[in-house]
């Protein structure tokens, strides 16, 4: 009987074949160029223009350094920048991780208990009207000069987009999928684990990508409010000495951290959400 049950025709939808080398390889290179080309050109053009204006107008370095001067400073100041970079990186990554864990956890909790959600959600939104960075000095007074107040500020900043996107993702699941699961003996937990949570993952990752770009703000404000190390501290110490180039170099380092974090989140999304539609990254 197994033979009669086979489909008469191969109904499998066409699957793109792996690109062979040769002309198709060249095609891939071309598509890479058309994807990354425009932003790279824009950035290079911007840097070139900056360099040109600073040089033609003879702007003094302590007022506004040229990109070449910043690059040279990064080399000479690296012994100062490197340890600061590591300190700030640690604050950002740990703070972000705390926010991700707490944010996803709270989103699931609020989703499972609608009464709690109705009670907590307005507070959650309301809490965002407090500019979190102004809490930094208070946290330093409370928690001291160590890493703790920085972690709290980074986590507070990253927390909100993750929670809100998580709740929205969990709530936007197709109701028919849940009905289908109910007719297949699924418990509340099974529905959460096998349907709602996977369905919410793209949304959760969106929240994390937004959070990844905010994280460095929290770390710098934390350091500005009280610290003796980190990139924020380097900037603060450089200001009265008019070491403008070093401030710029620290900004470059901060941007690099944010980009790496953003990239890491995107990579994790590719690994954990391989079914999601591509095209926005």
């Amino acid at each position: 009987m197994s033979d009669v049950m086979r489909p008469a025709v191969d109904e499998r939808a066409e699957i793109p074949e792996p690109a062979p080398s040769g002309p198709a390889g060249a095609h891939r290179v071309r598509s890479r160029v058309s994807r990354y080309g425009p932003p790279v050109l824009l950035i290079l053009g911007g840097i070139g223009l900056w360099e040109l204006i600073v040089r033609l107008a003879h702007v003094p370095e302590y007022l506004f350094p040229a990109p070449s001067e910043i690059a040279a400073d990064m080399k000479t100041d690296w012994p100062v920048l490197e340890p600061a970079l590591l300190v700030t990186l640690r604050e950002i990554v740990l703070g972000f991780a705390i926010a991700a864990a707490a944010g996803v956890g709270l989103a699931v909790l609020l989703h499972l208990f609608p009464v709690v959600r109705r009670a907590v959600y307005p507070l959650l939104i309301g809490s965002q009207t407090v500019p979190i960075i102004v809490l930094a000095p208070i946290l330093v007074i409370l928690l001291g000069y160590g890493i703790l107040p920085k972690l709290v500020i980074v986590a507070l900043i990253c927390f909100f987009p993750i929670v809100v996107n998580g709740i929205d993702g969990l709530r936007s699941v197709d109701g028919e999928l849940i009905t289908m699961m109910r007719t297949l003996d699924a418990s509340r937990w099974a529905i959460l684990r096998r349907v709602e949570f996977p369905a919410a993952l793209p949304s959760i990752f969106s929240g994390m990508r937004i959070a990844a770009t905010f994280a460095s703000i929290g770390a710098v404000f934390g350091e500005w409010s009280g610290s003796n190390q980190g990139l924020g501290y380097v900037m603060l110490a450089a200001t009265p000495n008019l070491l403008t180039t070093r401030i710029f170099a620290a900004i470059v380092c901060l941007t690099a951290i944010a980009l790496v974090l953003f990239g890491a989140v995107s990579l994790l999304e590719r690994i954990f959400v391989p079914w999601a539609p591509r095209g926005y990254r």
Binding site: M1, S2, V4, M5, R6, P7, A8, E11, R12, A13, I15, D174, E176, L177, T179, M180, M181, R182, T183, L184, D185, A186, S187, A190, R194, V195, P198, A199, L201, V273, W275
Partner: protein, 254 residues
């Protein structure tokens, strides 16, 4: 215990249901013998899906009685029925095999055990070598097969099929009807299916219940036990089939 009622897998009397001011069902009665196949045919929006959802225990009727085996309450009915939805509703984050095995996982089996039990049926139902395919890589017909298999794997005595092939083109649909008949012959279950296609209803079941326009009532019951090992084309073009089809269409008022 061997009373006549025990042989009935599904029984409904005077089932009435409204949604707000819209009356969906007006006193529907139904009886489906154990391991038989009954189709409900009716116009679109005539409350067919509502009947299935009531039998499945997803809804309760406003009035009337529904019984699935000995179960009368909605949660008990839900435990005895498996519903194949109109859309395949496969989960994109699961492979075809894991989609079909999901009911077993819900029932507490480990993923490995669930897979092991589902795999033999994949071969038997023409899905061999598609175990690891993602739903997005499957054609519409293949997706419906996985969806049917998922319903079957729940191991319920009663299968409720809601327009199982409504979204397919007519050629795939004909192939899938043949496939479903063989699948249903291979695993004896009580099957109640709804469709708006008279031919499909007559082909797939031994009894056809014709439903009226909304609010739905039963306007005719036709016995359609006419297959006897003939091919789909032979059946569809046979005089008895054409007569039955005319009767059904007349009952539908078209």
């Amino acid at each position: 215990m061997a009373g006549a009622a025990d042989a009935l897998a599904i029984e409904a009397h005077g089932v009435t249901k409204s949604f707000g001011r819209v009356a969906a069902l007006a006193g529907v009665g139904l009886s489906v013998a154990r391991h038989s196949r009954v189709a409900i045919v009716g116009p679109s929006g005539g409350g067919k899906t509502t009947i299935l959802r009531i039998v499945a225990g997803l809804l309760d009727p406003d009035a009337g009685l529904v019984r699935v085996a000995e179960a009368t309450s909605a949660p008990q009915r839900l435990a005895r029925c498996a519903l194949m939805p109109q859309r395949d509703l496969l989960l994109p984050w699961r492979t075809a095999l894991d989609n079909a095995a999901i009911a077993l996982e819900n029932q507490g089996l480990s993923r490995a055990e669930a897979r092991d039990r589902t795999r033999p049926l994949f071969e038997r139902f023409g899905l061999a070598s598609f175990e690891k395919a993602r739903p997005g890589e499957l054609s519409g017909g293949m997706r419906q097969r996985v969806s049917f298999l998922r319903t079957l794997m729940a191991d319920k005595d009663v299968l409720l099929l809601d327009e199982p092939f409504g979204a397919l083109d007519s050629i795939t649909r004909a192939q899938m009807q043949e496939w479903l008949l063989k699948a249903m012959d291979a695993v004896p279950r009580t099957v109640l299916l709804v469709t708006h296609d008279v031919e499909e209803a007559l082909l797939l079941s031994r009894r056809v219940v014709v439903l009226s326009q909304r609010p739905g009532r039963v306007v005719a019951v036709l016995d359609a036990d006419h297959r006897g090992g003939r091919s789909r084309r032979e059946v569809v073009t046979s005089p008895e089939f054409v007569t039955l089809k005319e009767q059904a269409l007349e009952a539908l008022g078209s």
